[in-house]
């Protein structure tokens, strides 16, 4: 089944991020001068306005900061309703990094604010993109996540 959900336009300014996902890393621009992480990536650090930022792999630990169960989806997403959209807060401090995304292997009804998450990766067949999803923190690593792929209500999953 072809993946029909929107995917990113990969360009020089964001290629490091998408290459990172393919390499099993979630890279966030970290300011060389003040040390703050910035999400979403901006051309300069929001804390000190330095343009010296380095794509830096983060811990991939996060918690649910907010979430919604979506019952009417745009385009191909409508085949997956209800699916979860979460705002996940990365463990990295002090500037908050709040990342929007979908879950994998989590029953949407089990979601709660504060729930520990871990960023995992999913290669999109037939496309040059690996994307990220949020799994439960205690879920299996991607290598043996095949079982998780069978859980229902996963917008991320491609059969």
């Amino acid at each position: 089944m072809t993946y029909l959900k929107p995917l990113p336009q990969i360009e020089p300014r964001n290629k490091e991020f998408w290459d990172g996902l393919a390499a099993g890393e979630f890279r966030v621009p970290k300011c060389d001068d003040c040390g703050h992480y910035n999400w979403v990536p901006y051309p300069a650090c929001r804390s000190c306005l330095s343009e010296n930022q380095t794509w830096t792999p983060v811990s991939r630990d996060a918690t649910v900061w907010s979430f919604s169960l979506v019952h009417r989806g745009p385009g191909a997403f409508n085949d997956d309703v209800p699916y979860a959209v979460v705002l996940a807060k990365l463990a990295e401090e002090p500037r908050s990094c709040i990342v929007l995304g979908n879950t994998v292997g989590i029953d949407p009804n089990d979601l709660y604010i504060g729930m520990p998450l871990r960023i995992v990766f999913e290669e999109i067949p037939g496309e040059d993109v690996t994307v990220f999803r949020f799994a439960a923190a205690d879920a299996a690593e991607p290598d043996d996540a095949d079982a998780a792929l069978n859980v229902e209500n996963q917008p991320a999953t491609v059969a």
């Binding site: 929107p6 995917l7 990113p8 336009q9 997956d80 994307v131």
Partner: protein
């Protein structure tokens, strides 16, 4: 309360707790809203966005009694798709008869109108028209077609996660309910009072369906939990326009001028991309900033306001509007609504036309709240008229959830 040109600028009200006051500046002229117009709102399959915009421009000028020849400022709230590479104001400058126009846009409806008022007061232009019209497209997910391959979108776009506007407000509502112990039933109160107002507005889309209850909202089908169908604004076609000029010019028009006492706009973040923690800081964000500026410039206090039009794309939005604007404390917006203050007969009837939830939400409806406040101040609202309304305020907000705000304070002469 009577505001006169020149005299009101000398009023120096007592400071509000926690709100900085600006010393009102004496103005060379006073701006006023002279005309407003709304096209039919709803499903308009036989109309185009352009024809709704043109109808709205002509209609508002006719309401003002001002000919098109006098228009020299424009706030086009839509893109122009007629001539690629041509901005909307360039397109309209020629479409309206090779008219020399100043672009008065920026800041959403109330914020753009605030800037237009400054332009008029300082002689940059004489007659400004704000307008919008949209037909044949939808904002919500029904408007998205199934592609035959994965579409490519900007790098951090929420489209990749199957999110859309409703999802963002649902995430906002979920976090808000968590932080302040507010329930979905609390949010639903907003849908109930605005629907009641709509039943008194013969032009509203949902009024003919009658009143609803909190239970109706809770039992309507979920769209993006915790928001159900009746927590969401409509998604319809329609157009509207507003004409602003000097109070002197407005006085020689058809309708009683509605004075613009002041306004402001503020933006704190981007287009549904970056969210920072906290989302609900005690000191407020863009809406607070715009409100403090606007009320300071106008020299008014919260209790002075007779009627309000507060952006209500979702039930949560109105509750947050009330808190950010300082009508109640953080976390107490739903209590303010439940106490009846926003209902007709309450101390500040709000969204008396039925709002975006039950009157109309056509594409970018940011000017609709201002239009209803103008009609209230003119005494044109029939069954839903707020008796003796003399001072009104409109709030426009949008982008990344309360990300950009405009506030406009209006009064009778």
């Amino acid at each position: 309360m009577r505001y006169k040109f020149g005299s009101k600028c000398l009023i120096s009200p007592a400071p509000l707790a926690g709100i900085e006051r600006w010393k009102p500046v004496a103005r060379p002229r006073q701006a006023a809203i002279a005309g407003v117009y709304t096209t039919k709102q709803g499903k308009l399959p036989d109309r185009t966005s352009f024809s709704l915009q043109l109808e709205a421009i002509k209609g508002a000028l006719d309401d003002a009694g001002i000919p098109i020849e006098e228009v020299d400022g424009i706030i086009p709230m839509s893109m122009s798709d007629h001539l690629p590479g041509t901005t909307a104001h360039q397109f309209w400058a020629n479409q309206l008869g090779e008219r020399p126009l100043g672009l008065m846009e920026v800041g959403g409806a109330s914020g753009a109108l605030a800037k237009a008022a400054l332009a008029i007061e300082n002689g940059m232009c004489e007659v400004v028209v704000l307008f919008y019209g949209k037909a044949g497209s939808l904002v919500g997910p029904r408007g998205t077609a199934m592609p035959d391959r994965a579409p490519r979108v900007p790098d951090w776009s929420f489209y990749q996660s199957g999110a859309y506007m409703t999802t963002w407000y649902a995430l906002w509502a979920q976090r808000y309910m968590h932080e302040f112990g507010v329930t979905h039933a609390d949010l639903a109160e907003v849908a109930v009072f605005t629907r009641h107002h709509a039943t008194l507005n013969p032009d509203s889309i949902m009024g003919r369906k009658g009143d609803i209850t909190v239970e109706d909202v809770l039992n309507s089908r979920p769209i993006c939990e915790p928001l159900n169908l009746l927590d969401c604004s409509l998604d319809n076609d329609g157009g509207y326009a507003i004409v602003m000029t000097s109070v002197e010019r407005a006085r020689s028009g058809k309708k009683e001028p509605v004075l613009v006492l002041g306004g402001a706009e503020s933006t704190y973040t981007d287009f549904y991309v970056t969210i920072n923690d906290p989302w609900f800081p005690e000191e407020g964000k863009a809406v607070r900033r715009a409100t403090e500026r606007a009320f300071g410039i106008a020299g008014i206090q919260h209790d002075d306001i007779d009627v309000a039009g507060l952006y209500d794309c979702f039930t949560i939005t109105t509750i947050r509007d009330l808190e950010e604007m300082g009508f109640c404390k953080l976390g107490e917006g739903a209590d303010y609504v439940k106490e009846g203050h926003c209902s007709l007969g309450g101390k500040m009837p709000t969204n008396t036309d039925g709002g975006l939830l039950s009157n109309s939400h056509a594409g970018d409806p940011a000017g609709m709240h201002t239009i209803e406040v103008v009609r209230q101040l003119r005494g044109e609202c029939g069954e839903r008229q707020v008796p003796g309304a003399k001072l009104g305020v409109s709030l426009q907000q949008g982008w990344a959830v309360h990300g950009m705000a405009g506030v406009l304070v209006m009064a009778t002469e």
